[in-house]
Symmetry: C2
Subunit: 142 residues, 2 copies
Amino acid sequence: MLKKIDHIGIAVKSLDAAVPYYENALGLKCEGIEEVAEQKVKTAFFSLGGVHIELLEPTSPDSPIAKFLEKNPHGGVHHLAFESSDIRGELAHLKEKGVALINEEPKIGAHAKQIAFLHPKSTMGVLTEICQDGEGGCSCGH
Amino acid sequence: MLKKIDHIGIAVKSLDAAVPYYENALGLKCEGIEEVAEQKVKTAFFSLGGVHIELLEPTSPDSPIAKFLEKNPHGGVHHLAFESSDIRGELAHLKEKGVALINEEPKIGAHAKQIAFLHPKSTMGVLTEICQDGEGGCSCGH
């Protein structure tokens, strides 16, 4: 069962430009910046009422975020992530319901979470992530 | 000051197709369906951990959601909404910070909330809504 909306992933051209908007205009506090080599992104995290906003800047032209920015040059919402306490059970349930999975097996994302993406063709165009806290947490305190 | 992420607005071609996905695959409960004549949309609301998901189906070809679907035919995240306890103060603060406002004055949205949109050119491509509960609430119990 899904517990909450864990985060909203937002593609940005530049964290240097985006972080000040989230901090100064929206009044949110940047909780940290982390590079996720596997996804070829640098992320900045904010939190509001238990939901994270994850800004994603590509670190390589072949990053999935770089491809998203080709279509959406100003940036935009890239994905929604739902937290589950049982990601493998959740993926099995979704598959049984006919949802196409991009990742049949969870992989490791930012904050050492287990993550898996559902295909937008099954989710009304919204790239959707299911995530679960990694065992033992991660070194950055999240 | 922003209190929380109030809702995520998601454009869909058809509530009849989208609601069963959110109910049966994601396991969320539809809290109600409401037509917002001014926005030319029919909305379905879901809730998870205090954050709402607002599905938006256009009711007219000149609805803003119909225009979004022309560019994103499968649907997608249309806007993010942040709740404020003082929408007018929030808008004044944002304007002072150089954020372009689509609505200088709040208008009435779904659930009789006061709402105002920020221009995506100032928000890194993310159409952003600020909202505040309407005085006295609304008839649907939200």
